[in-house]
């Protein structure tokens, strides 16, 4: 089992870098995970991360990319509800990268 160290505290991760205990997530961990994905967190990134966390809190699942895109458009404005916008922020895919940074469970790769 791998681990990361943020501000002197150690967090367990799986081999792909996802947090093992989702309850341990905090913004510092998010920043650290983003850096390891070569993403510089901006307000726009945080908007999406916060949205994902709220979505997960409410529905107990990570949304499919299509559903996320639609829901973001509804909440943050249509110009942000496009895959171009989301992939612009998270080049390797909002499903994979944003969920990891947001401390959501790893998509089980069901497709």
């Amino acid at each position: 089992m791998a681990s990361i160290e943020v501000n002197g505290k150690s967090y367990e991760t799986d081999e792909e870098g996802y947090l093992v205990d989702l309850n341990e997530w905090n913004p510092e961990v998010a920043n650290f995970l983003a850096q390891s994905e070569n993403i510089e967190m901006t307000d726009q990134h945080w908007e999406v991360i916060n949205f994902l966390r709220e979505y997960f809190e409410e529905y107990q699942i990570a949304p499919a990319v299509r559903v996320l895109t639609k829901a973001i458009g509804k909440k943050l404005g249509p110009e942000k509800g496009t895959s171009e916008y989301l992939y612009g922020l998270f080049p390797y895919g909002p499903g994979k990268q944003a969920c990891k940074i947001a401390g959501l469970p790893k998509p089980t790769g069901c497709i």
Binding site: I61, A64, K70
Partner: protein, 121 residues
Amino acid sequence: MSDVKKFMFVNRKAPYGTIYALESLEVVLITAAFDQDVSLMFTDDGVFQLKKGQQTKGIETKNFSPTYRALEGYDIEKLYVDRESLQERGLTEDDLLVDVTVLSRAEVGALMDEQDVILSF
């Protein structure tokens, strides 16, 4: 995907006692992602899956009941409940955590006949 089929998921089991309800929900979400025509049928103890107020802390298990409320966002809007099963269990539509269409057994049977693929877990 070019071939769209009518998929119905028949849920006859209560949640938590076994894993079927949770894993059924996962298939439902994937099927919707494949752009298929999805409907869910809740009958017998399956209607308990939709009961409001599930609190799973004490059994240290994930409460997946909120996920039924996410179905709308996946464009899954055909949720059907068998009226007789509800009544047998002392439940009414008000006890359920999502909007559903309540059907008689005859209506349920007719709807099943329209399906291309029926999956039950």
